[in-house]
Every structure is written in structure tokens, then in C-alpha cells.
């Protein structure tokens, strides 16, 4: 669906603020200016073709606060426009300007994505050039009929749901076996993504190998966390509420430590960057999304087999169901809890790597996903295994399909809405038991 878009891409002469960093692929083509003026720059191009064809002859005008025209330009043969603001950069600092695209001058076959979106107002806050961008061409979604969009979103919803299931299992099982709602679980998710990134970027390890090392490290982190922190606290009889606050402290500590080492910017792995999607019937899926979905599904099946067929798996379910009863029937609860920490952290780490592969990541990726995990776990039933898998798929689908109705910025708020409705209607979740909740 994306390759049908015609888009005007604002080119950056100089990156202005972090928010602009991702715009435009040809930013190096605009030379830096030496005239101590602030320029309004941008470029219009039609991305339906490869390489994109420039859109020339479009009139762009700049007005100041008094609505006086202070400069104009037409996009040239390369689709570019460049309007110097009057006065030096010091003169214009702090002023507000309005950039207007004259839609009458657009070529016959192209039009604005949003017909009303012809102007931008902004304040000059630095002495650097200012990039503007207008989306022209048909709305990238409007072209696809609703059922294709629904299908496409369902695909991303299932991918997200499988990822969530993987990541939330540890959260749910730690709760089931120890009663702890672990607020630092998101950081374990980030750990996988970041550890793989470390080997990928520092040593150029192939991603698959880096991922395997990262999962092993995650498992090690899970073991170390249980042995070094949580088990001593349990032995001492520290209360659940105190442990929750400790987990919050751990979460803040780890998250900011991650930022200390990798900085605030988003990252991607160097492998598998191609995004050309495959079309299978009515749906489109990128190979790496498909791979991530298949890996997650395979691991979930494996986990299901382990917990239903092996002695240790059955013991885990027994402890998650009722730790005291399990202990009295001769199950070594401490060993099971250690196992849950190790495997839960490893699964969260794998989830983080897969998320990083499909959507990119930063230091707080896990914290952002934690809200979705909570929604999934509570919908499915805290402490359950099957409930979590079902809840994750539902939350994943609901969150992605919401793009049909609301802006993607509200994804997380929507997950909270799901969470509150579940708590009002069926607080124990789909498969949870009533006596656990209050």
C-alpha cells in the first residue's frame, strides 16, 4: 500500500530538532548556506516511481505575523524550493511564519493528501534552516478499500499479538508463582533488543547469532535477578507491596542505565533492513514480519508442549495455580520459580528482539510495551498461560485495528481503555479465577 503514495518530502539542509530527523532521504544534496540567513527549504517528489520524480512548478509562499508576503519560490526541476527569510538569522529569531502551498499550481495529476492541509505555521527557534513538508497525492490509506486495510492491519495485529504473548508469559507466570506484579518486566524486554543491538553494532555479529547470544544473556539476567534480588527478599518475608515498589525502582534504574549507554535515539538492526513487502492474496507482509510471526508462533507452540507434556512444565502450572498446595504435594517451588524467572526473561528478551526487528527500538521500548502487556495479561487473566496467549492476540489485534478509526498516537490509550473495561466487566480476565483478584 505504501508504494502507491505520492508524497512531498521536505528535505533537510540541517537537522532541526529530533522530530525532523527522519524526514527525507536525500538531505545531503542541499548544500549548507553561508549567508547568515534562515532559509525555508523543502522538496516535492512523487514517490510512485522509482526513483521518485520531482514535482516542479508548485508555488510556495511565506508570510510573516502581519500577513505580509516575505518570500516565495516555485519548486524547480528537481522539485526543490528554497526561500530565504528577509534579514539575518538574528532578526528572524523568535518570529512566527506561515508557509503556504498554492494548490492551484499543483500539476493536473497530483493533489494534496488532505486538501485543507496547505499551510504550516511555526516559530523560528534556532538560526538553522527550516524544513517544511507537504503531503501531496492520494491518502495512502484512501486508495485501499476498507477490507484490505482491515486485512493489512489484522496481519500487523497478529504479529504484535504473538510478540506480546511471548513477552507477557514471563510477567504472568512470575505473578502466578510468586504473587509479584513485576513492573520491571518491560526492561527485560528492552534488554533482549539492546543486547542483540550491542553485538550487531559493536562486533558486526550476524543478527541471528546476536539474537541467540542476547537470549542466552537474557536467561542469565533472569537467573541473576532471581538469585541476587528476589529470592533473598522472598526468604526474608518482604511483602508483595514492598516488592512491587522495588520492581519499580529496578525499572527506573535499568531504563536510565540503558539510556546512559545507547542514548535517547531510536535504533534499528543493521541486518534485514529491506522493507519490500510480499503480496499474498489480499494481504501484504514484509518478510521480516512474517519471519518474526513464525518464530514467535513456533516458540509459543514449544512452550505449550513443554508446559503440558513435561514434568517440569506440569509442576510450573501447579505452582502457578496454587503455590502452597504445590509445595505440599512435593514440588520444589523455589526451583520452579527460578525456572520461571529464567525462561520468562529469555522469552521477554526474544520478544524484544523480534519487536526491535519489526518496528525498531530505543532505550524505553519495553516500558512502552509494558502497558500493552498489562492489558493482555489482565484481559487473559493474571497468572494464567492460555489466557495470556489469548489476551495478547486480542490486544494486539485491537490495538492495530484501532488505526482504522483513530490516529496511531492513541494506540496506548486504547489499550488502557481495554484494560479498564475488562476490570469493570470481568476483573478476573477471560481465564482467571475469581478468588485471585481481591
Amino acid at each position: 500500500m505504501r508504494q502507491h503514495a505520492i508524497r512531498a518530502v521536505g528535505l533537510l539542509a540541517v537537522v532541526v530538532g529530533a522530530g525532523w530527523a527522519s524526514i527525507g532521504s536525500a538531505s545531503a544534496t542541499t548544500a549548507p548556506y553561508q549567508d547568515d540567513k534562515v532559509h525555508i527549504v523543502g522538496g516535492l517528489e512523487d514517490t510512485r516511481t522509482d526513483p521518485p520524480t520531482p514535482v516542479a512548478g508548485v508555488l510556495i509562499q511565506v508570510y510573516d505575523e502581519q500577513d505580509e508576503l516575505v518570500g516565495e519560490d516555485r519548486s524547480n526541476a528537481k522539485g526543490r524550493f528554497d526561500i530565504p527569510l528577509p534579514g539575518t538569522s538574528i532578526d528572524v529569531l523568535g518570529n512566527s511564519y506561515r508557509v503556504v502551498l498554492d494548490d492551484e499550481t499543483l500539476p493536473e495529476d497530483s493533489y494534496l493528501t488532505d486538501p485543507d492541509d496547505v499551510e504550516r505555521t511555526f516559530d523560528i527557534k534556532t538560526d538553522q534552516n527550516y524544513a517544511v513538508n507537504f503531503d501531496i497525492g492520494p491518502d495512502i490509506f484512501a486508495e485501499d478499500p476498507w477490507y484490505e486495510r482491515t486485512a493489512d492491519l489484522a496481519v500487523s495485529g497478529i504479529v504484535l499479538g504473538l510478540l506480546l504473548a511471548l513477552a507477557s508469559l514471563g510477567l504472568s507466570l512470575v505473578f502466578g508463582t510468586t504473587g509479584l506484579t513485576n513492573f520491571s518486566h518491560g526492561e527485560l524486554f528492552s534488554f533482549g533488543a539492546l543486547a542483540a543491538y550491542f553485538f550487531d553494532s559493536e562486533f558486526g555479529t550476524p543478527l541471528i547469532l546476536a539474537a541467540i547470544i542476547a537470549i542466552l544473556l537474557s536467561a542469565g539476567l533472569g537467573w541473576a535477578q532471581d538469585a541476587g534480588l528476589w529470592r533473598p527478599l522472598r526468604r526474608r518475608g518482604t511483602g508483595i507491596i514492598a516488592m512491587m515498589i522495588i520492581s519499580i525502582g529496578l525499572s527506573l534504574f535499568l531504563r536510565n542505565l540503558y539510556q546512559y549507554f545507547i542514548g535517547p535515539d531510536p535504533h534499528n538492526y543493521s541486518d534485514y533492513t529491506a522493507v519490500e513487502p510480499w503480496t499474498i492474496g489480499p494481504i501484504e507482509i514484509t518478510p521480516k514480519d512474517l519471519a518474526a510471526a513464525l518464530i514467535c508462533a513456533a516458540v509459543l507452540v514449544l512452550v505449550s508442549i513443554v508446559v503440558t507434556r513435561t514434568r517440569l512444565g506440569k509442576a510450573t502450572r501447579a505452582v502457578a495455580d496454587n503455590p502452597a498446595l504445590a509445595a505440599s504435594s512435593g514440588i520444589n517451588v523455589d526451583r520452579v520459580v527460578t525456572l520461571v524467572w529464567v525462561s520468562g526473561t529469555a522469552l521477554a528478551g526474544l520478544g524484544g528482539i523480534m519487536f526491535g526487528l519489526t518496528q525498531g527500538f530505543d532505550y524505553q521500548v519495553g516500558y512502552k510495551v509494558l502497558l500493552l502487556m498489562f492489558a493482555a495479561v489482565i484481559l487473559g487473566g493474571l497468572g494464567t498461560i492460555w489466557g495470556v496467549m489469548a489476551g495478547s492476540l486480542i490486544v494486539g489485534l485491537a490495538v492495530e485495528e484501532s488505526a482504522l478509526f483513530v490516529s496511531a498516537e492513541f494506540k496506548y490509550a486504547l489499550a488502557l481503555g481495554v484494560l479498564i473495561i475488562v476490570l469493570l466487566v470481568r476483573p478476573q480476565g477471560l481465564l482467571g479465577r475469581r478468588e485471585r483478584i481481591g
Binding site: G239, I240, G249, F253, L371
Partner: protein
């Protein structure tokens, strides 16, 4: 680098405009957690809705400042209802989950680009403090100097501090009286043993809701003070860190103590500001004490957040009653 600069800077901030609003936020949490045992992990949400009500009313819709204040308080009460109704009948974790998630979700809504004409997106809103500023009677900077130890606050900052600390005193007196009243004793009883209180015929749910609201309203005051202190409201002011700075202050001073949040604020904010100033000065380009390969100025500003997490953990592990709390009274290990 001069140690005196670090010391005076830390003192300036230890009781400065920022410390004040964290103190108010912690007082609100004290009602939630200290007296009632509620785990509100989203105090920032109460601050945020109140601050944004004020800032958007005045600067987006040009409505009277005082109406903004009243609506802000109302919004915090409504938020308490929204978060309390689904969770207060359930185990303690559910309130914790909903508040931490709610705070983050509200922050994303208020910071959304598609709503920026109302709330200003990531830059937030400013230019709403003129009414408040017009009340400021001070016109020269105010400070204390003892020998070479000299601290100074700008007149506006001092006015913010004065307003804030007055609110702190008023809230503390109210809490002192409330905690001694029969109503306050029910709250403490709920914290200790909910079922026992229920068996005496008290409506536990309703008491918890009242506590959540009152603490949330004090959180709203904290939100206003944060908006005044920076003369702006931005989503980054109300991140999860904000809530847990307040938590750490409360737990350090001692929960369920009227003076706990005040003592906690002064000690913790002095310590954390001193730490931050030290690392910022130690990494200052050109006169580094710590080599840049280990820590650059951006990383220096993260140290206080890393330390925040550590302090919170260590406090809960080794001294959950804080400096002035009573371990027997606060049966935090009881559940």
C-alpha cells in the same frame, strides 16, 4: 569546579520551586499510601490533568485563570473516580497497574501531534501565568547569605516557593487533623486490615475512594505549582520519573508521618540536586574531571534518574519506614 557552588546550588534547589511541587505530590501520596495503603503509581497523572486544565483553558481558550484552577481540581477528582471505580474493589496491584498505565496514556494523549492545537503537542503550553504573576509582591531577588555561603532566588521563583510552601503547611495541618479524626482512623484500619474494617460495617470502597480523591486533589495542587514553577506545561514534565521522585521523597521521609514528605523533600532534593550539579560541572566541556569517554554532559543529566531508581530499591529493601517512620505502624510487610 567549586564545591561551594555545588553546595549553594543544591541548597537553592533543595527548598526551591521544583522541590515544593514534589513535596505536595508526596503529601498527596501520603494519604494514598501512607494512611490508606493505596498504591498510586500515577500521581503524575493527577498533576498533569490539573496543570493542563489550567494552561489550556487560559492559553488555548482564553478562559479566566481561576476557572482554570477550579476545573483543574475538578478534573483531578474525576480522574480519581475513573481510576478508582474499576480497581478499588480489587487487590492492590490493580490500582497500581491502572494508575501507572493511565498516567502514561494521558501523557501520550496530551502530547499527541493531532491534538497540538489544544495542548501544544510535545512543546506543551505556556503563557498562562500572567494572573498569577500579577499577584507577586516581590520585585527584587531574595536570598540568604552567611559568610561566603550565599543563595539567591529570582523574585518570581521566591513567590512560587512562598505559595508552594504555604500550601504545604496548609495541607499538612489538614492531614494532621484528618489523620486524628475518626475518619482518619478508619483509613489506617483499612491499611492494616481491610476485612476487619468491613466486618465492622464500614464501606471500605467508599473510604478508599475518598482517600484517592483527596490525595489526587493535593496532587492537582502539585500540578499547578509545577506549571507555575516552569511557567509552562509539557508532557515531559509529567513522565513516570515525576511520580517516583514523589514516591522516593515520601518513603525516605517516612510514610504515614505528617512531616515525612517535608523532611523527605528537603533531604532528597538537596542530595539529588547536589549530585546532578556535581556531575554537570564535572563533565563541563573544557574543564572535565570525568573523561568524556566515560560520561558526557547528556549522560551526566541521567545520573540522578539512575540514582533515583537505586535509592527507591535500597530504601524498600533496607529501610521501608524511611528516616522518621515507624516500622510497626506501617505494616508494609504485612501482606
Amino acid at each position: 569546579m567549586s564545591w561551594l557552588d555545588v553546595l549553594t546550588g543544591a541548597f537553592e534547589q533543595g527548598i526551591g520551586p521544583t522541590a515544593v511541587y514534589f513535596c505536595l505530590a508526596a503529601i498527596g501520596l501520603n494519604i494514598h499510601f501512607g494512611y490508606t495503603g493505596l498504591l498510586n503509581f500515577g500521581q503524575a497523572a493527577f498533576m498533569m490533568v490539573a496543570a493542563y486544565c489550567l494552561s489550556s483553558f487560559v492559553s488555548t481558550w482564553d478562559i479566566n485563570f481561576w476557572i482554570g484552577i477550579i476545573t483543574g481540581l475538578g478534573a483531578a477528582a474525576v480522574l480519581a473516580l475513573l481510576m478508582g471505580v474499576p480497581t478499588l474493589r480489587l487487590r492492590a496491584d490493580y490500582l497500581a497497574i491502572v494508575t501507572i498505565a493511565g498516567a502514561e496514556a494521558i501523557r501520550q494523549i496530551l502530547g499527541a501531534a493531532s491534538l497540538s492545537e489544544y495542548f501544544g503537542g510535545q512543546t506543551g503550553r505556556s503563557g498562562f501565568v500572567t494572573t498569577y504573576q500579577s499577584l507577586n509582591p516581590f520585585d527584587s531577588s531574595i536570598g540568604i547569605s552567611i559568610g561566603s555561603f550565599e543563595v539567591n532566588w529570582r523574585p518570581y521563583d521566591f513567590f512560587v516557593m512562598l505559595t508552594g510552601w504555604s500550601l504545604v503547611v496548609i495541607c499538612s495541618v489538614v492531614i494532621f487533623l484528618l489523620a486524628r479524626s475518626p475518619w482518619g482512623r478508619v483509613l489506617k484500619a483499612i491499611r492494616e486490615d481491610e476485612d476487619a474494617v468491613r466486618s465492622l460495617g464500614k464501606n471500605v470502597y467508599s473510604y478508599k475512594m475518598q482517600a484517592l480523591m483527596i490525595g489526587g486533589l493535593i496532587g492537582a495542587l502539585a500540578g499547578f505549582m509545577s506549571a507555575f514553577a516552569s511557567a509552562s506545561t509539557a508532557p515531559s514534565d509529567f513522565a513516570t520519573d515525576t511520580t517516583f521522585f514523589a514516591w522516593t521523597i515520601l518513603l525516605l521521609g517516612g510514610a504515614a508521618r505528617v512531616l515525612g514528605p517535608i523532611a523527605g523533600t528537603i533531604i532528597f532534593w538537596f542530595f539529588i540536586s547536589g549530585l546532578e550539579l556535581f556531575f554537570i560541572k564535572a563533565t563541563l566541556p573544557g574543564e572535565e574531571i570525568i573523561p568524556e569517554s566515560i560520561m558526557d554532559p547528556n549522560q551526566a543529566s541521567l545520573v540522578r534518574l539512575i540514582v533515583l531508581g537505586l535509592v527507591l530499591m535500597l530504601l524498600m529493601i533496607y529501610r521501608p519506614q524511611g528516616i522518621f517512620g515507624d516500622r510497626r505502624e506501617l505494616a508494609i510487610d504485612g501482606r
